[in-house]
Symmetry: C2
Subunit: 137 residues, 2 copies
């Protein structure tokens, strides 16, 4: 019985990890395809959200964070990338993902990201994103 319960817990944990990983990938898919509405919808719209774009200072609150993504997706510099090295952790109603964004194109660089998610019912919403360029040197 104990081991069956253990297996159930492990299965539930894996379902959660898969759901967070899917939310994380979907976020990047929507960035890549320039789907601003979906990118904005991926975030929790609250005062507590925070975002550090590569080379930027942190910005806080939905107005600023949402505005930054709108500016990026409405520019001519929508990034294309491959995601590698994903790792998901879940604890309770929070989850965090580390992932490498391998940018394609002329300035091919790798960006290391830490993304924080909060559970909203069956949906995981992004509440923090910190991304930084990995030095090539």
């Amino acid at each position: 019985m104990v081991s069956e319960r253990g297996n159930d817990a492990e299965r539930r944990r894996q379902v959660e990890i898969d759901a967070v990983a899917a939310a994380n990938r979907e976020f990047y898919d929507n960035v890549e395809s320039g789907d601003l509405e979906a990118v904005l919808d991926a975030w929790e719209h609250s005062r507590r959200v925070q975002c550090t774009h590569p080379g930027w200072s942190v910005i806080r609150g939905w107005d600023e964070v949402g505005g930054s993504w709108a500016a990026i997706l409405q520019s001519n510099h929508v990034p294309q990338f491959l995601l590698t090295n994903e790792h998901v952790e879940v604890q309770g109603d929070l989850a965090w993902v580390t992932v490498d964004e391998n940018l394609l194109g002329q300035n091919s660089v790798t960006v290391s990201a830490l993304n924080l998610f909060a559970r909203h019912g069956d949906v995981w919403k992004m509440i923090a994103h910190h991304a930084s360029v990995v030095s090539s040197g």
Copy 2:
């Protein structure tokens, strides 16, 4: 009664925020003073810990994360800095802090950091650290 309960909740919340802010500042104080034992003790010693130093890829697990801090503190490049722009969020047994590390000295730069903490009884332990240089340009 309702408003008194609301005040109690708000007070408890502020106590939690203060405890996380103190843990975060103590971590940096110990980095600055080169107290390796205290820096290592500030972290949860587990497989789930993750750390992205400025310009680095993410490293995972206590062996690697702890080893990276040992290497930094045993080098001749222990950073000195002023902390500004701190902001703490707490949800349940997890908390996260964004803060600017304003490095002093010849190469004065600002580093933007996102630090994730988990509650261990009365103590908040670091479980993730992502730091990146803010572009001066």
